[in-house]
Symmetry: C2
C-alpha cells in the first residue's frame, strides 16, 4: 500500500485553494457515449457470465445490475485500451471481457462492504443484503470474485492476473485497515489515505493498467495509466467522503450521514477534529469514538464541519489528486478520448459543487 498517488504537502493550508469550476457534469456521459459499443458488449458479458445453475446467483446479481451504477471502473479499462490504440474490430474484444472482470471484482467488494457496513441502501435502492440477507451477499460476492478469476484465466494473460489479484488483495487490506481505524480519532491523515488507496484507488489503477496490457503497450504507458487511475481513485473517494457530509440523498444515491453514524474516519472528520475547540473535540469523541449519538448530533457535526472549512479542505485535496491524474495523461498525444478522460478527472471533483 505504498503508492497512493501524489503526496500533497501535508500541513499546507488548503483553505484558500480555489477549486476550478468545470462546465457541466457531462464528462461521464461523454465517456459512456464515446465507448458506447464497447460498453454494450461489456454489459452483455456481465449478464452472460454471472449466470449459474443456482438460481439465487443470477437473481441477486440482476438486482445489482438493475441498480445500475456508473460502471466507472469497466469504462476505465475500455478507455485505457482505446487510448493505447487497441484495435476496434471483432478480433479484439479482450478489453471487453477484462472490463467485465473488473466490474465483477468491484461488485463482489460492494456486496461484502454492505454486509460489513450493515448498509440498507446502495445507489438509492435497497442494498442486496437488505433484500437477500447477509449470507447470500457474502456467498454471491465470493462467486463473482471466483468467476472473475475464471474469466481472467480464459483471457490468458499472467500480467493481467498479477495486476488484478494484487489489486484484490490491496482492496481487502484497505477494508481491514478501515475497520481497524473505525471510531479512532487518533487515525492519521496518512493512514486515512492508505485506507482510501486500498479500498478505492487500487482498483481504479488496476482497471486502467489492464487496458494498457491488452493493447501491448510499453511499460511507460501502463505506468502512466496506473498513475491516472490511482490519482483519479483518490480524488473520487475524497469527494465521496466529502459528499457524505454535504450532499442530499437523491444526489448521492446513499444516505447522507452514513459515515457519521458508522463512526467512519474520513478527512472531513479528521479536519474538523484537528481544528476544533476542546468542546468540539469532546463532541467528536462522544459521537465517533464512543458511538453515542442523538438525533441532533448530525446537524451539529455538519455545523462543525462547515465552521472548520473541512469540506473545502477535503475538496482541495481531491483537486490536487485530480490534477495529478490529468498530468499523468500528458504522455499520450491529444485526442478526443484524452480530452474526455481529462474532463472526467475534473468532474470527479466538480460533482461535489
Amino acid at each position: 500500500m505504498s503508492d497512493r498517488g501524489i503526496t500533497p504537502g501535508e500541513g499546507q493550508d488548503h483553505r484558500s485553494t480555489s477549486v476550478p469550476v468545470v462546465e457541466g457534469e457531462s464528462a461521464l456521459h461523454a465517456l459512456s457515449d464515446y465507448l458506447h459499443d464497447d460498453m454494450q458488449a461489456c454489459n452483455r458479458a456481465i449478464v452472460e457470465r454471472m449466470d449459474s445453475p443456482v438460481p439465487l446467483i443470477p437473481q441477486l446479481a440482476a438486482h445489482l445490475v438493475a441498480a445500475g451504477g456508473k460502471r466507472l471502473r469497466p469504462l476505465l479499462t475500455l478507455a485505457a485500451a482505446r487510448l493505447c490504440g487497441y484495435p476496434s474490430d471483432a478480433d479484439h474484444q479482450r478489453h471487453v471481457g477484462l472490463a467485465a472482470c473488473v466490474e465483477f471484482i468491484h461488485t463482489a467488494t460492494l456486496l461484502h462492504d454492505d454486509v460489513v457496513d450493515e448498509s440498507q441502501l446502495r445507489r438509492g435502492l435497497a442494498s442486496a443484503n437488505a433484500v437477500f440477507g447477509n449470507k447470500a451477499s457474502v456467498l454471491v460476492g465470493d462467486f463473482l470474485f471466483a468467476r472473475s478469476f475464471q474469466l481472467m484465466t480464459a483471457d490468458g494473460s499472467l500480467k493481467v492476473m498479477a495486476i488484478l489479484s494484487s489489486a484484490s488483495a490491496t482492496i481487502a487490506e484497505g477494508e481491514v485497515l478501515q475497520m481497524a481505524t473505525q471510531n479512532d480519532l487518533s487515525t492519521s491523515v496518512a493512514q486515512y489515505l492508505d485506507v482510501i488507496h486500498g479500498k478505492t484507488a487500487a482498483l481504479f489503477a488496476a482497471a486502467c493498467r489492464v487496458g494498457a496490457v491488452v493493447a501491448d503497450r510499453p511499460d511507460a504507458e501502463e505506468e502512466a495509466l496506473g498513475n491516472f487511475g490511482t490519482n483519479l481513485g483518490m480524488a473520487f473517494q475524497l469527494v465521496d467522503d466529502a459528499l457524505d457530509y454535504a450532499a442530499d440523498q437523491a444526489t448521492l444515491g446513499k444516505t447522507v450521514g452514513d459515515d457519521f453514524r458508522e463512526g467512519k474516519i474520513t478527512l472531513p472528520v479528521l479536519t474538523a477534529f484537528a481544528a476544533g475547540s476542546e468542546e468540539d473535540r469532546t463532541f467528536w469523541r462522544r459521537v465517533i469514538e464512543d458511538n453515542q449519538q442523538t438525533e441532533a448530533d448530525l446537524d451539529h457535526a455538519f455545523a462543525l464541519i462547515r465552521d472548520t472549512d473541512a469540506i473545502a479542505i477535503t475538496l482541495a485535496r481531491a483537486t490536487e489528486y485530480a490534477d495529478a491524474a490529468k498530468a499523468a495523461l500528458s504522455i499520450f498525444p491529444p485526442s478526443r478520448l484524452r480530452d474526455i478522460l481529462l474532463e472526467t478527472a475534473s468532474y470527479t471533483v466538480s460533482r461535489a459543487r
Copy 2:
C-alpha cells in the same frame, strides 16, 4: 456441478450394507508423516504468505493456524504430486506453493462459512468470527482468496488457475445452494449431493488435480486424481454430516447438533424424514422447516435418526464413495504412498465408527 463422483443407485436399500471396519485411524498420520518435509515447507509458506502490513490480517490468520486442523487439502496436493513422480529436490517446490494456495482458499471459505452459519466454534476453539467479529472474518477471507490468486499467478500455470478458479466458483455455488435448501425438507437427495459436491468435493478434487499438473502427467492421471478427490470429498462430507448427529463434541471439534439447530438439510435428516411416520414428519417440519425447537428436540431427533438407521445409511453411502475413490487410484502402480491414500479413503469413513 454435474460431476459429483459416482452415482450410487438411489432408492436402493442400504440398511443391510455392512461397513468394513478398517484397522486404526492412523491413515492421516501416515500421510502427514510420509509428506513431512513437504508439509513443513507448506506450513512455512502459509505463514510467510499470509503476512500483510495491516496487522489484523496476520493476527486473524494466526488464530486459524493455531487452531490447527488436519490440513487435508494441501496434503492431497502434495500427495498427488508425489504419486505422479514430481521430483523431490530444491528445484521442484511448485507443489508446496500450490498446496498453500489450496489451504488459503479453504481457509477463506471457512471464515465466510462461519459468518454465514453464525458458528461459535471451529475445530473445538472459538471461531474467528466469535473472536474478531464478522466483519474481520469476511474481509480477511477476501484477502486470503486474493492472496491465493496472487500466489497462483506467481506459479504461472494457466491450467492450475483454471482448476482452482473453477473450484472456487463451484464452492460458492454449493454454499448458495445449501443456503437455498436450508429449512426445506422437500430438498431431494440429488440436490443434497450437489450441495456437498460444491461445498466440499470440488476443492478436494482440485487439490488433487493440481498435483498432477505440476508433475506434468498425462490427462488420464489428472483425471484419475480428480476422481479420487471428488469421491473422497463426497465420503468425507457425508461422514461429517453423520457425525453431527452421532459424535461427541470432543471427537468432532464442533458442537454436535449444529446442523440440527441451523435447519441444515443433510442425508441423515432426509433419510429419517422419508422413513418417518406422519407424526415424525410433523416433528421434522416443526423443528427444521419452522425452526421451532425446544431443549428436548435434539434428543428426539437422535432417537428418530437411530430408529430409521439414518446414520448407517449415510455411512453406507459414504463407503460407496470411499470405494470409488480407491478404485480411481488403480491406474497408479502400487507404492507406499498409494497404500496410504487408500487407507486415507477408508479412514474417512472409519473415523465415524
